[in-house]
């Protein structure tokens, strides 16, 4: 992989600003000027690449290379982000080659893959970069031909001067263009005139993927590389006491066995520095199999970790981690106990207490969902080669910008001596935003003074933590004598954090509204999991709205549209975190496209759900049938509003994937524990959805508009859970309150 370093202080072009909801956003100037010196010294053989902006390189032979800034984990930014550049550059997509960019926040921006933010955050900067480069090429041509730049035009990688009939390739002007200072404020194309964006383009790595080329973190290899694995404690709440490696060291190919601390006492952790175990028992050897075998010979004594403390952030916030060995049964009991205690008020509109007191009918339902493992198809792994004065780390990670400062602290190296290379990831889902395995690999390499690949077995991966939290929520709806919805109350809790988004629908649509949250600390570590919190909320809330609709004698889509109309015309309260028109838009579209009232569809048990998260709107109608005595989702109709769709077919692929993922997790997914020990540690016990369980058909429809693109990785996922629950109700006559739904399905079928 190529990389370029500049002598420019990498922090000099960063600007930071606070986000409204909390958190820090780091923006960047893509339009930096580079000295010719830097360009030439950074060039790699064999071609002379002229770098016009951080993303675009052009050779004299008119080969255009565009760098993808954001780490790739299947969301296909490797294709969509370069498409955006290509569009404004006015080059031909088929003449563009794409390469994964290095970690370089000055030239390439925040490079954070997560929160469904890649396209949304890079939309404007990439368009500007492409447009600026096109402008520089036009200026270069104008200078060469000695004509006014206003008379120069471009088309598909060529520059033209119609008046004189002169023309030339971008490549022929690239070296001259590289000397021109990058213009700011160049006019962008009208989105209605796009040639590349809004048209389906094939995955730029498709051929490599299906021919087995080395692409993934686990494929990364250098000469002399050793393999390391960590023997983790068998339970949350335990730590390393002592070990005897005498048999292990006799095993073939084994080089080292040692224990290593990850963080020293008092280490200030960043938000993504979560780690489950701090004292690491490391085995290093020549090959993966040798290390896997040698681990089995370790004689280890574990002891209770007891209560521990994490120090979070520069504010040095202390978080106490309890020491108990937790079991799912006690966790469930504790959640029930906390659910009846007072909780933190997150939002209140009107007078819900009185409304509930005076209600003609109160509907109250409680929903629960278990810890979920990310289960990326590629287990965690990372490469590191650390020496006294520099470090190279390479592998799968979603947030190099967050990992780098921690690495710098742990290795005691300045950031510009740390090179981070990003490989293609076999799945992320949020798990790879957390860098513990990067730091572990780096510390191991530093200790053994050799390049090393740290590998997690599937068992290591599935039992390590960083799970989707365990959640519960109790919903209450108050109806008056005319069956009007007069109050809505959600009290949600979780281990170790609650799921509540207090300002989301139906907040804003109901006069009296109360949202509360509570949490129970735990030593089971958690992390962002595809649409955090939303992935539970949409299941609970959307199932609940179904029941409320039934109690009100209304069609579930009609009820939602009525509430959204209310939220639009006479909104309740402030900060309602959704656009009621766009939310209603996906519901109307899915109603139409699913043939919601079409008598032909009566053969299906239909469930509907809609949700807004990560800036986009999604609605699904799930069509369930009985097949061999088991409910089966045969067909799904999806409606999505994510603004401009960059790469339509790839976007459809993602939504299909989110639907399948949602069905699988809703029906089957879940981790349970007994005395801190995972009861599922591989796929024979943790059930994943398989092909025969996936729908026959998923019909995806986009709301057509010209709004700036918003996220797509997460938004379609949460409402699938709710739609499945609602379809199951139609099919079985029973409501489903506990995930995974298969547990209740199996109980029912046995009865």
């Amino acid at each position: 992989m190529t990389h370029q370093k500049t002598s420019i202080n990498r922090r000099s072009f960063l600007k930071s600003s606070a986000l409204a909801g909390g958190g820090l956003m780091i923006s960047f100037s893509a339009l930096a000027k580079f000295d010719l010196e830097d360009k030439v010294s950074g060039l790699d053989l064999p071609d002379q690449w002229y770098e016009l902006t951080g993303y675009i390189k052009i050779t004299p032979d008119n080969v255009i290379k565009i760098l993808n800034p954001n780490p790739e984990f299947g969301q296909n930014v490797m294709t969509s982000l370069p498409m955006i550049v290509t569009e404004e550059l006015d080059a031909e997509w088929k003449n563009v080659t794409v390469e994964m960019g290095p970690h370089d926040s000055v030239k390439l921006g925040p490079q954070f893959t997560g929160g469904s933010n890649s396209v949304r955050m890079y939309w404007k900067p990439l368009r500007e970069a492409g447009a600026a480069a096109r402008n520089m090429l036009m200026q270069a041509a104008a200078q060469t031909w000695n004509v006014p730049v206003e008379e120069v035009t471009t088309k598909a990688g060529m520059v033209y001067h119609e008046k004189s009939g002169k023309s030339g390739t971008y490549g022929s002007f690239a070296s001259k263009a590289a000397e021109i200072s990058i213009p700011k404020g160049v006019k962008l194309k009208d989105v209605k005139n796009f040639n590349v964006v809004r048209r389906s383009q094939k995955n730029v790595e498709g051929v490599k993927i299906i021919t087995g080329k080395p692409l993934f973190g686990l494929d990364y290899k250098v000469d002399g590389m050793l393999i390391a694995m960590i023997e983790h404690p068998p339970a949350f709440g335990l730590k390393l006491k002592s070990f005897d490696a005498s048999e292990t060291l006799k095993m073939p190919g084994i080089k080292h066995v040692f224990s290593q601390k990850l963080y020293e006492d008092g280490f200030e952790q960043g938000g993504f520095d979560t780690r489950t175990f701090n004292d690491l028992l490391v085995v290093v050897g020549n090959t993966t199999w040798q290390v896997m075998q040698a681990r089995k010979k370790l004689k280890v004594e574990w002891e209770l970790a007891g209560e521990t403390k994490n120090i979070i952030g520069t504010q040095k916030r202390e978080v106490i981690i309890p020491g108990e060995l937790e079991s799912t049964s006690t966790q469930l009991a504790k959640m029930k106990e906390y659910a009846s205690k007072p909780a933190q008020q997150l939002r209140k509109d009107g007078d819900p207490e009185t409304a509930f007191k005076n209600a003609a009918r109160v509907i109250e339902r409680t929903y629960t969902a278990p810890f979920l493992a990310h289960n990326c198809m590629e287990p965690m792994n990372f490469f590191a080669h650390v020496s006294d004065d520099k470090a190279l780390v390479a592998g799968n990670l979603q947030a190099p910008g967050w990992s780098e400062p921690t690495l710098a602290k742990l290795l005691n190296l300045p950031a510009d001596k740390i090179e981070i290379q990003m490989t293609r990831m076999g799945g992320g889902f949020g798990n790879r935003a957390y860098g513990h395995y990067i730091y572990e690999a780096a510390l191991i390499s530093k200790k053994i003074k050799a390049p090393v690949k740290l590998v997690y077995s599937r068992e290591d991966d599935m039992t390590y933590g960083i799970y989707r939290p365990m959640y519960t929520a109790t919903y209450r709806a108050a109806l008056d004598a005319n069956k009007n919805l007069i109050a809505f109350h959600v009290k949600g809790g979780g281990i170790p954090e609650h799921p509540i988004h207090a300002n989301r629908f139906p907040a804003g649509a109901v006069d009296n509204y109360l949202a509360e949250g509570w949490q129970i600390p735990s030593n089971i570590t958690i992390g962002a999991f595809r649409a955090p919190r939303s992935n539970f909320n949409a299941a609970a809330e959307q199932s609940f709205l179904d029941e409320v609709a039934e109690a009100m004698g209304k069609d579930p889509i009609d009820l939602r549209l009525e509430l959204l109309k209310r939220a639009k015309e006479k909104p309740v309260g402030k900060n309602n975190d959704y656009d009621a028109d766009r939310y209603a838009g996906v519901l109307k579209l899915v109603k139409e496209k699913s043939g919601w009232n079409n008598p032909e569809n009566k053969k299906y048990s239909r469930g509907v759900a809609a949700y807004f998260c990560h800036n986009s709107y999604a609605a699904h109608v799930v069509d369930l049938v009985m097949r061999d005595g088991q409910p089966y989702v045969e067909k799904v109709t999806s409606a999505v509003d994510c603004g401009i769709v960059i790469n339509p077919d790839a976007a459809i692929n993602m939504i299909e994937g989110a639907v399948v993922d949602g069905i699988g997790n809703a029906l089957y997914g879940g981790l349970t524990h007994k005395d801190g020990v995972a009861e599922q540690n591989n796929f024979h016990r943790y059930r994943m959805i398989r092909m025969h369980e996936a729908p026959k058909k998923i019909d995806v429809h986009f709301v057509q508009n010209d709004l700036d693109p918003t996220g797509l990785g997460e938004p379609p996922f949460p409402p699938v859970f709710g739609a499945v629950a609602n379809a199951l109700y139609k099919n079985t006559g029973n409501r489903f309150y506990e995930q995974p739904y298969i547990l209740q399905l199996n109980k029912t079928s046995r009865a």
Binding site: L215, F216, I227, T287, M377
Partner: protein, 154 residues
């Protein structure tokens, strides 16, 4: 010393005969197209062909491959033009891509044995291949398209 025939080429490797073929391919021979997903034959990411049969290389000892013909994703076709590979590109199947080699290797055996598989045949044959990203619908379609490409002799 063990001699293995992988993708029509002979390799002499110095490995414990108990080593799973998967790790010999990945760590010793440097053919990394075959993937590690679970190590217990549950996910299918490691599927290779042993004398034309689909086997899970994570639980297949390398000793079993001695004197046999092994084909991995890298050797499925010489010009990246196996009907499945053509269909996979035509329908732009992959998301993260990690499971896809195993999917194609399993599907290749299905298509060899069943020139006209029904959806049910496909679901049944592919039940052992997990896709975490959920590309199952596209895989199904790609297998059907590949069968068509195969039938037309393209």
């Amino acid at each position: 010393m063990i001699t293995l025939n992988i993708n029509k080429k002979n390799y002499n490797v110095d490995v414990d005969p108990e080593t799973p073929l998967l790790w010999v391919l990945r760590d010793t021979i440097n053919l990394v197209g075959t993937k590690y997903g679970c190590g217990i034959a549950q996910c299918g990411a490691c599927v290779v062909h042993l004398n034309g049969e689909a086997v899970r290389s994570c639980v297949t000892k390398v000793s079993r491959a001695v004197g046999q013909k092994v084909v991995t994703i890298e050797g499925l076709s010489e010009k990246n033009d196996h009907p499945l590979q053509k269909a996979w590109i035509e329908l732009d199947v992959p998301q993260c891509g990690y499971c896809q080699a195993g999917q194609i290797m399993s599907a290749a055996v299905l298509l060899r044995e069943n020139k006209n598989p029904t959806e049910k045949d496909i679901d049944s044959a592919m039940a052992g291949n997990l896709c975490r990203c959920g590309t199952y619908l596209r895989i199904r379609k790609a297998i059907q398209l590949a069968a068509e490409i195969q039938r037309k002799g393209k």
